[in-house]
Symmetry: C2
Subunit: 208 residues, 2 copies
DNA sequence: GGGGTCATGTAATAGGTTACATGATTCT
DNA sequence: AGAATCATGTAACCTATTACATGACCCC
């Protein structure tokens, strides 16, 4: 009962920990190598990577008994490093964590949603212009993801390891279509938006 | 030059600050009232609300000169409270912040994306089962959002203030379709997934 | 007139990010 | 042989979350 769970919700919350458990399930490694793998393997596009956080997470995982110090090694005259290995508890945790993440949608708070909630603080014409510019940037990012996928496939990476990128692609498309439609609706006089918007702007700027 | 920007990137980063600036652009308020508004107005579905964080953010905004202590009031014999008002700098910050958020897509890290990146750590049959269950949960959440929208419209809230919820709806639909398709692809023998998956599982569990 | 919930906020703690440090290789 | 970059990690700081505190109001 003295906990393999952090006070906050479920166990360790930083998803970097999931990556660490997964890599260690294949072979023992030291933290720096974990970070390199994360970058080279492209998983840093899916999980926020930050060297300092990695060491924090490794310490947390070790404290929880999910990974264990295996040996202290050294390559050439490079600094010494501590190699960690997955424990049985760690393997169980990896599986349990993944199960939860795959099964249960999490309520999250993307920045764009927060911005949309307060969009009426800006005048409609300006919002339309900003959104139009967003469309371009979205298209560019989408193209980058596309390139990552195609490049990886060409380099022989199996599609199984590119599912996240395809998911991102789908999301980009949806957002693009939504924003396009939103721009239209802002201009559409058959919605009541324009008048509501004007009133709201008056409430903000008018009285003073 | 001594900063209206936090060390970390751009200004204040917690989106709760955006909500505070927006509310204060309509009228001065004290922190507790800000929190109540956030909940009642439903914006807590778009921006993560936590009472402790609210006070932190208010302090940050005050330190940045974006809001200013206006008076200290009291309702009945309830505890005293400090009323804050938006400053001119605060109004500018609100607009600038919103512009950035609307124009520039942010790279974010949803939990599901992280999970997808490591999905091959579980056996395919289990993944399919988990994803099937996810479909149900997604449908339920989608229905809840739908109800929020319909209920609000029926209560007279203009559509302009429900854009975030519609965006969420679109995202739910995309994710649902993607997961459905993903389940099919896992079962589809014409992809190379099954064999790749088996090899990967062997690499994880086999040698030991 | 006592028990719950609301109003208002503070303090302690844990988590995450930035900045820095040091020596080894590699490149030109 | 000097500059740049890689390898490896530590430490300080900032942010955010949880937990707690205190007194009103309200209800029966």
């Amino acid at each position: 009962m003295a906990g393999n769970r952090t006070p906050t919700g479920r166990k360790i919350s930083n998803l970097l920990g999931l990556a660490v458990l997964s890599y260690l399930s294949q072979q023992p490694m030291h933290p720096y190598a974990l970070g390199r793998t994360l970058r080279e393997h492209g998983d840093a596009r899916s999980i926020k990577y930050n060297p300092g956080s990695l060491y924090t997470v490794v310490r947390q995982l070790a404290a929880g008994g999910f990974i264990a110090e295996q040996e202290t090694g050294r390559d050439g005259l490079r600094p010494e490093h501590t190699v960690y290995a997955l424990t049985e508890a760690g393997r169980a945790e990896l599986h349990d964590w993944l199960r939860t993440l795959l099964e249960q949608p999490q309520h999250e708070y993307p920045a764009f949603v927060g911005a949309l909630a307060f969009v009426s603080a800006l005048p409609p014409a300006e919002v339309s212009a900003l959104l139009a510019r967003r469309l371009h940037l979205l298209a560019r990012q989408r193209a980058e993801v596309r390139e990552v996928i195609d490049g990886s496939l060409a380099a022989g990476v199996p599609g199984l390891f590119l599912i996240e990128e395809e998911y991102r692609l789908a999301q980009f498309d949806t957002e693009h279509a939504f924003v396009e439609r939103l721009i239209e609706r802002i201009a559409d006089p058959s919605t009541d938006w324009i008048s509501v918007w004007r009133d709201h702007q008056a409430a903000i700027n008018g009285e003073k």
